[in-house]
């Protein structure tokens, strides 16, 4: 166990304040943490991660506690048995504090205990949530259950694996693809090529530049020449045209000047002359009519004014009269108020007198003022009253305390007397310690007995199954098996002999085959031919010679024919024939030896080889026979070796294996004996402790039943010990309590005395304080306060009455003043009103004033109208005189005396003006045509021109001009083209600009290429790593995962296996138990996929624990898609794994907690509620 979380405490985090979870309750079991929605399940998960790995830069759990207050603490149990207690704070530095030393320490120290797992690893590899489970399942689905990826993903917790692969591929595709046009590198290279081409296009050579420059100069020269010629032509055309245009104007000018001479006597009147005349005549008529009307109106006004009159004295006092009228309402109200207030004062005085009588019959309004209390005196009284109340409360509470303490004392003393005396327990305690040191002896004993019995059964079975030998265990243990070395020696020797024998057999076979081959070759050569050999020739020649000798003997010596010779030729009739035959035979053979020499030689060689091979064959067969014998001997020796054991030995190899089993059984037997001795030891220990403990218990006056078991005795002893200890503890507590109560009683009594003294002092001060209000010293505070309040009430009422009296006096003064003012006004303005009441007199005065005001108003309006009309009359007279003067002046201007003749003179003057304007216009036009030449000289030049000649010359010049203009336009176009071409050679180099861009682009592509290659490599690395992982881990992980899967699916599936898909790629499949069918991942239901993935995670984890020790595994509500049965199974599986590593299961499903409580044994489950 690398480490385990012992306790975890959210001091201030999310919704939690000082919330702790203690995991130390069970050693190896499943910790289920339940929290409803919003209860802070997710917060506590985050808190756990933050505690181990530090807070995130931005936290979301700072809504109850401010960010800088967040803190999580806890304890880690380390593999060396130590305990690391530390607190994590949210701060940049020193965020980790060791709770024992109070010193900060580094994350790296903590990381060592976390086996170097990073936060991400921890979350991935040692945590699984519903989300990560679903992602994982998705990832596996996407990969089609590909075996490597599935194992890698499930066991690493890196559910994102497929995403990473996809992302890598996407990034690659964005950068480059052989056939893509838009990928960055592809597009970049195309663009780069275009830019380079453009650079070449815009770069040009110096020779071209020179040539084009020369061409441009030539074109510009020609253009200049044409422009000079065109200027000349323009001049000629200009002059001619002007002369031609002026011809008509000159003739017309002459006519106009003659007309003007004729009109010389007519006066030149101004343009507005007729208008002036008409205006003057109309004005005269209008003024005469206006004068008559105004005179009539003035007369009427004078008549109206004479009828109006008004009094100036009344009008002068308008303000006074208005003021009096305004105040009359106030006067009336004050009269009424004054009456009512006087009645109120009277009533108040009567009330006060009556009230005083009630308080004290000696008091009346006249003398009451002596009883007014000063402010300090009143304050002092109130203070004393306050003290009185507090003293009274203190006395009451102290009395109560005293009573309570006395009662308690009585009760506890009784309890103490009822509690018995404890016995001496040292001996019993020592016995129990001894028993405890030994552990649970009975359990150990029964375990040992069971194991021993099991071993014996196993040994007996193994002995029965051993074979070759039969007997009981005792004689078996004495069995002396030949040493291993001897067996191996025999084995080796026999193997060697066997090998040599088979080698020889093979050689014999090979040899026989060679002989056969040679024989066949020989037969092939000699087939259909009876080939002679040199020995045959020799024999035949010997026979021939023998025949010749016989012929010679018969022929020359008359001898007998050689019968031996003749016997060789039985078919021949006589010696001669036989001899002839022998000569033929010898010759034939000699011939054949010559003609078939090659075949004969081959046949001879083959024959020789066959002989050799046969010899060899014989030798090898001899060797084989000897080896066979040797082999047989060795086997005999082998059997002899086993004879003493009465065993008919099998082959050495089999016997080695057999003796292995024997040794194994012997080891088992040794273990069995050891167990038996262990059993004996335990039995003795129990017996000893049992005896001692019985004595110790008896000493404490407890009867021990006779047949009590060891464990019963231990329980009894423990109980006895505990009871005695409990008695001692209780007595001690009672005594302590009595002491404390007595102390308390004394304190309370002292306090009561102090209060009595304070009370006496208070009485003295009280007597002196109430003396001014003439009350007895024994008066109670409440009575005194009531008396003072009654007096206050009287004083307040008297004050109110005084204020009302002052107001009444003021109103009386006002009314009198007003009456006098009215009287005065009547005297001055209307003495006839003297006898009237104030209100009436004022109203009449107001009426007189209004009448006078109206008359004066009407008079003033008529006066103004009269002034206006008089002004209008004098204005009309002035206008008439003015217009008459204007008409007279106009006649003078037209040089006549009768105004009626004026229209005719006006007409003639207008005609003369038109003719003059014509003449001026003609001269202006001629001046324009003269273009700066003096006008008389120009007119003279024009008069001398012949119109026809002039027209002909002009036409010629126009034609020339058109031709030259066309040529110039062409030239301008050529020059523009040439210039723009040359502009490309301009020193402002476009190529240089383009080169900068091309270079930038090349740089970008270069880095894209590098990045692309790295991405490709990353993909390759990942793929290879996955494959390697699969190879190394496939079977152990799958084996373990299969078990979990079977459990979690309630054996609907028997397990998982590596299989192949239709493409032949390795994939993961689930085996359905119903029909043993292997189903691919996509054929599984949602829930089963979850179970499969969880099984793989747990399989991977348990393998990891086996290899590397454990780190807590955090499970966050992964059973969402599990039905109740499978949830129970999964919880049980988790509890099983929890025996090897700590598992913390977070959930917000109450029913999962219930399921866990039902499914998991109590000692393996611990539940916490947030």
């Amino acid at each position: 166990m690398l480490m385990k979380i012992n306790a975890f405490h959210m001091l201030a985090f999310g919704p939690f304040t000082d919330k702790g979870i203690d995991f130390s309750g069970i050693e190896n079991g499943l910790h289920v943490i339940y929290g409803e929605n919003e209860a802070g399940k997710s917060s506590s998960l985050r808190a756990l991660i933050a505690w181990l790995y530090g807070f995130e830069h931005r936290v979301v759990d700072d809504w109850l506690h401010s960010t800088n207050k967040l803190a999580v603490s806890g304890a880690l149990a380390l593999n060396d048995g130590g305990l690391l207690r530390f607190t994590r704070y949210k701060r940049r530095k020193n965020d980790l504090i060791n709770d024992d030393s109070g010193q900060p320490f580094e994350q790296s120290v903590l990381n060592r205990f976390l086996a170097g797992k990073t936060k991400a690893d921890f979350e991935n590899a040692y945590g699984i949530s519903h989300d990560s489970l679903r992602h994982g399942v998705e990832s596996v689905l996407i990969s089609g259950g590909e075996l490597g990826q599935t194992l890698f993903t499930a066991t690493s917790g890196l559910n994102v694996l497929k995403n990473v692969l996809t992302k890598l591929e996407e990034k690659q595709a964005k950068l480059f693809s052989p056939r893509a046009h838009k990928a960055d590198i592809n597009a970049g290279i195309t663009l780069l090529a275009e830019q380079r081409k453009k650079i070449r296009q815009v770069s040009t050579s110096h020779i071209q530049w020179k040539k084009m420059k020369k061409e441009l100069v030539h074109l510009e020269d020609r253009k200049l020449e044409i422009e000079t010629r065109l200027a000349d032509l323009n001049r000629t055309i200009g002059t001619g045209t002007r002369h031609r245009d002026a011809l008509n104007h000159v003739t017309r000018l002459q006519q106009v000047e003659e007309e003007l001479d004729r009109l010389v006597s007519i006066p030149e009147l101004s343009d507005d002359f007729p208008q002036q005349r008409i205006q003057a005549q109309a004005g005269i008529k209008q003024s005469q009519q206006a004068q008559e009307t105004l005179l009539a109106e003035l007369e009427e006004i004078a008549k109206q004014m004479s009828t109006l009159s008004f009094d100036e004295t009344i009008l002068a006092n308008q303000e006074l009269i208005d003021a009096l009228a305004g105040n009359i309402a106030v006067f009336t109200k004050e009269s009424a108020d004054s009456k009512m207030l006087r009645a109120k004062i009277h009533q108040t005085h009567r009330d006060v007198e009556a009230g005083l009588k009630l308080v004290n019959s000696d008091l009346n309004i006249a003398t009451i003022d002596q009883l007014r209390l000063s402010k300090p005196a009143r304050n002092k009284l109130q203070k004393l009253i306050g003290q009185h109340t507090r003293l009274a409360q203190s006395i009451e509470s102290s009395d109560k305390d005293l009573k309570t303490v006395s009662n308690k004392l009585k009760t506890i003393a009784t309890q103490l007397s009822q509690t018995g005396q404890p016995g001496k327990t040292a001996e019993l305690q020592s016995c129990l310690e001894r028993a405890s040191e030994q552990g649970n002896l009975e359990l150990r004993l029964s375990e040992v007995q069971a194991e021993k019995a099991l071993m014996r059964t196993r040994i007996d079975k193994e002995l029965a199954a051993l074979g070759l030998w039969h007997g009981d265990l005792e004689s078996f243990e004495k069995l002396a098996i030949p040493p291993d070395e001897s067996m191996r020696r025999f084995a080796d020797r026999l193997v060697e002999l066997g090998q040599r024998l088979s080698a020889l057999e093979k050689e014999i076979q090979r040899n026989s085959k060679d002989i056969g081959d040679k024989q066949r070759e020989h037969d092939e050569v000699t087939r259909n031919k009876d080939l002679p050999n040199p020995e045959d020739l020799q024999t035949q020649r010997g026979l021939r010679d023998q025949g010749w000798r016989s012929v010679r003997s018969v022929w020359l010596e008359g001898g007998q024919a050689d019968q031996g010779f003749l016997a060789h030729f039985p078919e021949q009739a006589g010696l001669a024939d036989a001899y002839e035959k022998s000569v033929h035979d010898a010759d034939d053979t000699a011939d054949m030896l010559r003609t078939e020499a090659q075949d004969i030689a081959i046949a001879q060689t083959l024959r020789n080889q066959i002989v050799e091979l046969e010899k060899t064959h014989q030798t090898i067969e001899q060797q084989r026979d000897s080896l066979k014998q040797h082999h047989q001997d060795t086997l005999g020796q082998w059997q002899e070796l086993w004879q003493p054991l009465g065993i008919s030995a099998l082959s050495p190899a089999e016997m080695i294996e057999w003796s292995g089993r024997v040794v194994q059984i012997k080891h088992g037997a040794a273990d069995y004996h050891e167990k038996a001795s262990r059993q004996q030891q335990l039995e003795n220990a129990i017996k000893l402790i049992h005896a001692d403990m019985t004595v110790a218990v008896n000493r404490l006056a407890i009867n021990v039943p006779e047949m009590i078991s060891y464990s019963g005795l231990v329980d009894l002893a423990k109980r006895t010990l505990k009871e005695n200890e409990e008695l001692a503890r209780q007595r001690k507590e009672f005594k302590l309590h009595i002491q404390q109560l007595e102390d308390r009683k004394l304190e309370v009594q002292q306090k009561i005395e102090e209060i009595e003294e304070q009370k006496r002092l208070w009485s003295e001060q009280w007597a002196s304080a109430i003396s001014p209000i003439k009350l007895p010293a024994a008066s109670q505070p409440d009575d005194v306060m009531e008396y003072i309040d009654a007096l206050d009430d009287v004083f307040n009422k008297l004050n109110d009455a005084k204020a009302i009296q002052q107001r009444v006096d003021a109103m009386d003064r006002n009314r009198k003043a007003f009456q006098e003012a009215v009287q005065d006004a009547s005297d001055r303005l209307a003495p006839q009103l003297n006898s009237l009441e104030v209100e009436k007199a004022v109203a009449t005065l107001k009426g007189i004033l209004a009448e006078n005001l109206q008359h004066r108003q009407q008079y003033k309006l008529l006066e103004a109208d009269q002034r206006k009309k008089t002004d209008q009359l004098s204005e009309a007279k002035e206008k008439l005189a003015g217009n008459q003067e204007i008409l007279r002046q106009l006649c003078a201007e037209a040089s006549i005396s009768d105004p009626d003749l004026l229209p005719e003179v006006e007409r003639q003057s207008r005609h003369k003006s038109i003719v003059s304007k014509d003449a001026a216009a003609i001269k202006d036009r001629l001046a324009e045509l003269a273009a700066g030449q003096a006008l008389p000289a120009f007119i003279e030049n024009v008069r001398q021109q012949d119109p026809d000649t002039l027209t002909a010359e002009l036409e010629k010049a126009e034609t020339d001009k058109a031709d030259l203009t066309k040529e110039r336009e062409d030239l301008v176009a050529h020059i523009a083209v040439a210039k723009s071409e040359l502009d490309r050679f301009d020193i402002q180099s476009q190529a240089a600009s383009l080169a900068v861009e091309a270079d930038g682009l090349a740089g970008k592509i270069q880095s894209d290429v590098t990045y692309y290659i790295q991405l490709r490599m990353a993909s390759a690395v990942l793929a290879k790593a996955i494959e390697r992982y699969r190879k190394h881990n496939e079977s152990p992980v799958l084996e373990s995962a299969s078990k979990y899967f079977r459990t979690m699916t309630r054996e609907s599936f028997t397990g998982l296996k590596a299989d192949f898909n239709e493409k032949g790629e390795p994939v993961l499949k689930a085996i359905r138990s119903m029909d043993d069918t292997a189903l691919s991942i996509d054929a599984l239901s949602d829930g089963t996929r979850d179970q499969m993935f969880l099984a793989l995670r747990l399989g991977g984890l348990s393998r990891h624990i086996e290899n590397s020790g454990s780190v807590p595994f955090i499970v966050d509500d992964v059973l969402v898609h599990f039905d109740d049965e499978r949830s129970s199974a999964a919880l049980l599986a988790l509890a099983g794994l929890a025996e090897k590593t700590q598992i913390i299961f977070f959930t917000h499903h109450k029913h999962l907690v219930e399921l866990a409580e039902k499914a998991v044994p109590k000692q393996s489950l611990c539940t916490y509620f947030l």
Binding site: H57, A120, L192
Partner: protein, 409 residues
């Protein structure tokens, strides 16, 4: 007081390299005309300060530059000097010798070019200076030209013009190689050298100086660029570097260990950039951004280079007030995740890490790049060396980052 200007390696119209255009980049026209602008700055300076002689020590143009208008521009600028009676003495360098323009251009009256056949001396009696020099006949001039230079002229300020590499210098082709002692022994007052693109004073008495190029053109030519103003007063020579460049190249390295977000990355980079922009006098700057340090954002930067580049460009535009052009962003950061322990575990992640550790060469991955290679063929874009382990390091980084940074995937 006599004076002259010593310039070399103008590389007119040679493009500034590696500057990809992007939204928010400064006005490209300034970049395009940068080399021309440096020549105009040179001419303006001479006219304002009335310096009577300009010596140019080779590499006016790029050897393969095809556009004649570049030559016309040069001639136009020389015409401005000539009109003011200023002498110009030029030797062609390896690049000029290669370029056809060199032979065709007709130079104004006061501009003289040294022949390539043998070294010669131009004597300027009006300013009492004798200038010795020899042009390159071909680009492949690998013999020691200095040996045959003429004897100094008595009573004159003797200036030697040589486009060459001083033996032992690294990183340049060994054109006309010679030693400082070869040059010093000639008895000239000043050796005006060309070819090396950095300003370097190799020796005093006599002064032997490379003025460097007039305008940096890529990220290897960082810092101020210009020419050397040499003045003689009573037989004592003094020299001063004169800045001519209008665009400055710079590398800005930022340690972003403290950054946890992209925003903080750009903030830190902005500070580093601001500090470096201080010395540029408002010049347009071409910037290579390098990010270093162990940082939590390492993964994100590796997975999203385009986002990082866009952000760095935006902040550079902001800080430089549109005067900064980000040439490239290099991520040299490291992850804060310590993978050592994880690599030991039997988890799939451990398997992956172990596999990565075992991988020595990209070739082991057997990735087929044929399609990409054929696409790149002839495009001028290089396919990286396939056994380049940096590629593998990059690939590992991407993979680990994508697998650990679950927020992105």
């Amino acid at each position: 007081m006599a004076s002259f200007i010593h310039a070399s390696d103008l590389h007119l119209d040679s493009p500034l390299q590696g500057l990809e255009t992007y939204e928010g980049a400064p006005d490209i026209e300034e970049i395009r005309g940068a080399t021309r602008q440096s020549l105009m700055n040179l001419v303006d300076f001479m006219l304002t300060e009335q310096v009577p002689l300009l010596v140019i020590v080779g590499d006016l143009y790029d050897g393969d530059w095809p556009d004649f208008s570049t030559g016309l521009f040069f001639a136009q600028q020389m015409q401005r000097l000539s009109a003011a009676g200023i002498h110009v003495a030029i030797v062609w360098g390896n690049h000029d010798a290669q370029n056809k323009m060199t032979k065709t251009l007709v130079m104004p009256e006061h501009v003289k070019i040294f022949p390539a056949r043998k070294p010669e001396t131009f004597v300027y009696n009006d300013i009492r200076m004798a200038v010795h020099g020899q042009s390159y006949a071909t680009a492949e001039t690998f013999q020691n030209l200095a040996l045959d230079y003429p004897q100094p002229r008595a009573g004159m300020l003797n200036i030697g013009l040589l486009h060459c590499l001083i033996s032992g210098s690294m990183g340049h082709l060994p054109y006309a190689p010679c030693t400082l002692d070869d040059l010093a022994s000639k008895g000239y007052n000043y050796w005006a050298l060309g070819h090396v693109h950095d300003y370097k004073v190799l020796r005093e008495n006599p002064s032997i100086i490379y003025p460097g190029c007039c305008q940096g053109r890529h990220i290897k030519e960082t810092g101020p660029k210009g020419c050397v103003l040499v003045e003689e007063d009573n037989g004592v020579l003094s020299h001063e570097f004169i800045r001519l460049d209008s665009v400055q190249w710079m590398t800005v390295t930022a340690d972003i260990s403290a950054a946890e977000t992209m925003g903080q990355v750009t903030d830190i980079f902005a500070q580093a950039l601001e500090a470096q922009l201080a010395g540029t006098d408002g010049r347009l700057c071409c910037i290579r951004a390098i990010l270093r340090g162990r940082t939590p954002v390492h993964g994100h930067l590796v997975i999203h280079p385009e986002e990082l580049t866009a952000n760095i460009r935006a902040v550079a535009a902001d800080v430089s007030r549109q005067r900064g052009w980000v040439e490239k962003v290099r991520v040299e950061t490291q992850s804060i995740v310590d993978l050592e322990d994880l690599a030991q575990s039997d988890t799939p992640q451990g398997e992956l890490l172990r596999y990565l550790q075992e991988l020595d060469s990209p070739a082991d991955l057997e990735v087929d790049h044929t399609a990409l290679k054929s696409k790149l063929a002839g495009s001028g874009i290089d396919f990286p060396m396939e056994n380049d382990t940096d590629l593998l390091v990059g690939a590992k980084d991407i993979l680990i980052s994508m697998l650990t940074d679950t927020t992105d995937t």
